[in-house]
Symmetry: C2
Subunit: 525 residues, 2 copies
Amino acid sequence: MSMTGQLLIGQRACRGENGELRGLDAATGKALEPAFGGASLADLDRACELAEAAFDDYRERPLERRAAFLESIASNILALGDELIERCVQETGLPRGRIEGERGRTVGQLRLFAEVVRQGSFLDVRIDPAQPERTPLPKVDLRLRNIAIGPVAVFGASNFPLAFSVAGGDTASALAAGCPVIVKAHSAHPGTSELVGRAIQQAVSIYGLPEGVFSLLFDTGRSIGQGLVADRRIKAVGFTGSRTGGVALMKIAAGREEPIPVYAEMSSINPVLLMPHALEERGTQIAGGFVTSLTLGAGQFCTNPGLILAIDGPALHLFEGAAVDALKKAAANTMLTPGIHSSYCQGVERLLAHAEVVTLGQGLEGDRYQARAALFATSARAFLQCLALREEVFGPASLIVRCADEAELKQAVSALEGQLTIALHISEADYPQVRALLPTLENKAGRLLVNGFGTGVEVGHAMVHGGPFPATSDTRTTSVGSLAINRFLRPVSYQDLPAALLPQELADGNPLSVPRRVNGGPAHD
Amino acid sequence: MSMTGQLLIGQRACRGENGELRGLDAATGKALEPAFGGASLADLDRACELAEAAFDDYRERPLERRAAFLESIASNILALGDELIERCVQETGLPRGRIEGERGRTVGQLRLFAEVVRQGSFLDVRIDPAQPERTPLPKVDLRLRNIAIGPVAVFGASNFPLAFSVAGGDTASALAAGCPVIVKAHSAHPGTSELVGRAIQQAVSIYGLPEGVFSLLFDTGRSIGQGLVADRRIKAVGFTGSRTGGVALMKIAAGREEPIPVYAEMSSINPVLLMPHALEERGTQIAGGFVTSLTLGAGQFCTNPGLILAIDGPALHLFEGAAVDALKKAAANTMLTPGIHSSYCQGVERLLAHAEVVTLGQGLEGDRYQARAALFATSARAFLQCLALREEVFGPASLIVRCADEAELKQAVSALEGQLTIALHISEADYPQVRALLPTLENKAGRLLVNGFGTGVEVGHAMVHGGPFPATSDTRTTSVGSLAINRFLRPVSYQDLPAALLPQELADGNPLSVPRRVNGGPAHD
């Protein structure tokens, strides 16, 4: 298998005729072979037509087949071997070890969703049996199951070229739910996208699924991405990217004749609260962990710690000193794209020039597209007054907010926008203060974590990678972990359907052995 | 307890100074005592302030107390006795038996949600225990629970003055989820609203809850309703009403700085498919049930059968004849408001005047505000061409679409917008045809039912009262039944939180005995 620069529309591979784009070597900015042809609106229309045609067939395939299909995608990705790893390293500038780890995570996600599909509790089967003798009115037979919502548009993210891109969490959870997927490839890693796209295309073929289950489109402008969200056949959207991009898609979706859900994971500064006793007892140790988390992957994680909140004093000064010492030794790392690098530099310039912001230190300088880490400090007063200080600077930059006292710390916490994560560094003596803060923190973030940093997102059943706006567009869900499947489901209730017509999940005797609730309680059938 | 015309803002009752409105005797149009003062924006602000202040306290009250609070609301409503029933009959024109039945349903809903709260599976507790020995990286401890989303705005509906109004399904499910509620009373039954509002206010007091858990506002224009949806402290909206009204609220919510979910149940014509063998075998019998369902409650049900789809021929003619015979004897019934009556008359006029529509028959004429039932027929060709024929006429009017053949029937089904219900009348010989139609029908409606009509919505665990747009604004949920609680929840994940700080639901040893999943499977702790 190798790259051709073609669009994947169902089982076809065809040359896009709407301009072209190329992958760039992230380290040098040099254009790579081959050129990728951009999709036209006709290509988009064809992909949507196939997805719509595939939908009813795909969503009713046996759960075991759907699970095996997901596992087959995972195997096909592994079978790409070094070609995938090398291309991905080249396009993203991320180190080989990181990309190999991310491939493991991507494959792990697909396999996790295969298990979720087999286990069947995502169907939320509920049976309220008929009571023909009930007075004054007999009770009908009602059976409920979740079904797939419809074809889903997925936008590949730049910062996780495997785990949040073509076969990433959004695609895996949508396919697991029974939805066909059309991916708009991220222009930062078109080669990686094509290779992974072909791995999915192949799995569709092996499992004899209708071809519209998967398509991959390259977009040389914005018309394909916007057109996908606007298309009447698309019923939900998964997106990871900037706040501007996410909000634009939300507006398109809300303005449709039939509005649809958009799951956009957008913007988070992931505050870290250093509580007084923890800061006093082990501030310099925390500082080391902080700088490691801040500079990991050139700071290009959604959960990068962009904000530190603490009460000012000698302990905080020691923390700052230790953080600056570590930061000064931090090597600059290549960023994902020249555009991301240039945004990062602008964000750092704004902080360097800000009258209320002190520059504590910077990391080592690097090459042309490498990000130099930076650490700043400001007062809580300035933080509360200046909205710009609450904005994400995507990359290895962080801002320490020095609060005068506990009251100011609380004010700063209350002023936070929605976040993916809030980290707390605490000792036992801090518990009373933390206990009082917890309700506010719960309202601000999808994940609260203690004595750690938000980078490192475990893919499991109890993970929430979500949170109130602007962290995401929909706080009711997560884009990582098994719960993510719920985003692409809707409940349907069947009343008095004859046994011969009932879907298998709802049939008497539970032939599929899926978890079911009878009259609201656990079933024993 | 009796009516004063006051707003209920937390534990206060105060006179609204922003104009006034009165309940009308539905049968005569005569204004009733007392006058209700309209809320000002300052009243709205105060209610939101109290709701926000109450939120963190209320959502963490023990589940047992929350359940008992819901049951106390139910008892207080019953204790209102005849005063409530009489006022409600007067304001709505609905018969006493219907209102008594609706009270039973309202009380039953509150008690159902009390059980849901006690049972605890709505919390969706998930625990992925730590694996400190895992390589290459140790696994953190992750625990997930659902928490309440925030203060909720509920819009009372005119057509269910008890079950979908002040203490109706939206309020019950939001309170059950742990959300404070601010109700915008429907102007068609202000007296009923105040009485029920006081029953809730009293329960808040009995249970020592923070007063902002509940407020009730009267709106003399649209500023209070719109202002509620726009207010930054409101985090979700429940609405049952017209498509125009629902879409307007959706736009306000989507245009906020922080967009919020709107659960609007809006518009459905609830198609009834008469399959050929059933029509042949028992068409006249079905016709009787159809007319009963059509004229029930003056046709003012969200699930009223506004459309019949069938293949043309002698059997359909017999059905039509029998339906017209029954309809001619159907008494006219008082509608909820003069406005609804006038909209109904206009809708019927449009059909009477439509060039492609035949009037099959009308019911008995009635008094000034009574709705005369009406039955029309058209061709599938006209139905497919004219969008206006797919619009809801709220009241006892229905349209039969005569399809030339099975292909045209399929086309008509495919052209349907989203629906709350689709009913199928079938015999065993129809199964193959029905089986082929089912996937399309599932994509169109929240509930599919066989050999019955959508009116009569069972409140249980397996009910879906929802469906694709425009039936509702959010197809992922239901506004009736225990699943409705999910609308007002969001997941939060806790990573490595010390035992002393964990919420009880997540604590080791499961002290609350709530259902939990450990590593994705059922727990045995």
